[in-house]
Symmetry: C2
Subunit: 379 residues, 2 copies
Amino acid sequence: MLKTSGISVAPLSVPERLLLGPGPSNSHPLVLEALSSQPVGHLDPFYIDLMAEVQDLLRHVWQTSNRLTLPMSGTGSAAMEATIANIIQPGETFLVGIKGYFGNRLADMASRYQADVKTIVKPWGEAFSVDDIEAALIKYKPSVFALVHAETSTGVCQPMKDIGDLCRRYDCLLILDTVTSLGSVPLFLDEWKVDLAYSCSQKGLSCPPGLGPFTMNQRAEEKLNNRKGKVPNWYLDLSLLNQYWGSDRVYHHTAPVNMNFGIREALRLIVEEGLENSWDRHRKNAEDLWQGLEVMGLELHVKEELRLPTLSTVKIPKGIDGKAFALHLLNKFGVEIGGGLGELAGQVWRIGLMGYNSQKKNVEKVLNLFDSELPKFKE
Amino acid sequence: MLKTSGISVAPLSVPERLLLGPGPSNSHPLVLEALSSQPVGHLDPFYIDLMAEVQDLLRHVWQTSNRLTLPMSGTGSAAMEATIANIIQPGETFLVGIKGYFGNRLADMASRYQADVKTIVKPWGEAFSVDDIEAALIKYKPSVFALVHAETSTGVCQPMKDIGDLCRRYDCLLILDTVTSLGSVPLFLDEWKVDLAYSCSQKGLSCPPGLGPFTMNQRAEEKLNNRKGKVPNWYLDLSLLNQYWGSDRVYHHTAPVNMNFGIREALRLIVEEGLENSWDRHRKNAEDLWQGLEVMGLELHVKEELRLPTLSTVKIPKGIDGKAFALHLLNKFGVEIGGGLGELAGQVWRIGLMGYNSQKKNVEKVLNLFDSELPKFKE
């Protein structure tokens, strides 16, 4: 009866990589140690306490007091979908600011929840002005506006001044994608009047991928409570998750306990360093990278005042096969840098300095590699 | 600007637990070692090879040749929802066999995808007969029938003889929940003519929770390919995931790479032991547990021929506070056993012997604890 397919695999042996691409980044060794603890039950009193700690720590790095703040049991994309699935009702107008790959993803997701999706678009590498946004809010009267704070596909950091006020004035909820900014770039969710936000574990937090931090404020919660019918997504239903992560601790799904051990340690390390110190470190190392690249005659895709400290897009010089160069760095030196995504495919490299990997020695390493290896790829 | 909430948390220190409840079970130490490797990129050639290995290994433990076999980047519940989200079209009749908690969950999920949900019900602790199922297929003419193979809430293993043939005769797809059977209880998906199945990582596979193995055959794939409109769930959309896990390797979401290191090692260890040997080990240890409990005068909730080797439901004797006893074992001895869920709350304990924890020494430990500690709880 039993078919043995002659499977024989060797024990796992993971090659050593320095991950300087768009994420995942390398994890802090203490996070990996936490991850390798034996699991406990998802209703164990120890774990229940740990959940509360993770929630408090997430509130801190996001600078929010939102009660409903928790890591979704999936990657950042699951948390992204959670903001939409819980908040959008069929037929509602959902406005997305698209200035890169992840804006498109938001639009695709919202269409699956039967939103009437409207978009405002900027070239990949630019940011929206307050006027752009106000004009679109007037034109489309959306009930939800979604914006990407840190566009991993372009390396742009969206200035957030006045946008939250604008959304309140036009009676619209604001969703903010903070996937590539949480823990590493200044974020003030409450001050910015952001209603829902999400992130990931594998970038600024120095943890492996697998959890999607999620938060929603009282305004968003009220909308969820007043929605007609069940949330059309069981796994991401905040009204159910609230019973597990809220005070009731009612079983929803078996939590990924080890990943939560990891993120708790990751967040603790940020507190230990100091959140502002982490922001400053990311800024400083990014500036050193930019300067070093420019000294070599390379050009950055984004103008300085909009640049994201965590992810830099570097123009691939004419005549260079960007993909071959990145593969060379990976195969020969174990260093990963990213290629362009979507519209920027083939045009830029993406160099990430995120979380644990935002270190002076890594800046030097990648600059030295560009210096010594890139000339070999010139025609 | 920055609010420091005076957060100060100590480095993580996880208490030692022997997890003999409904899952998670303890992980194999080599799985935890794999989990703590530094991540690699989700498009790294090494990781691409590893994905193919994980897929092959999953096919083996499920005894299927289904092309679309992969771990969903969420827990078992996400994989459960994936079967429904991809296959159900609004208005279609979805029949669920409910004989425990997880049948109810399937019904809830299907209602969110606008299925016309019908149910057949059995008392918690029993299984469906082929006649029960045939009568319901005739009565409701469902396009999908979902059944739980191993009900974690009751400890019942559903006999699968003839059910797949029946579903084909009545032109209906068969979804099977194998959350508490994969790797530990005989499963022959192809032979049983199961069209879609899902499982979890934290039970028979000896890996922490966080991944949801998923599989669908050609029949199910055809239905997916012919569906009208997009799958109403982006994260679990198999038509997108297929591009990443299939031959194209198109980026969908950042895979939880470390969890995949873990499950690859977990599955490799099952192959190393021999799949049939693993099944036999689970059976033998469960039988020893049942015998030991009965010798002590305790009663099992399920009749022997329907019992699940991985999860045994034990009737709480009259006059005993079952919850207090379980808490005593946890706090005093670090041993977790489960309480009843849903209809069986307060009536049974649930003792799990799953994966790495299905060991003779653990059977002896739990029997000794019942022997020495239970009398202290008698009135």
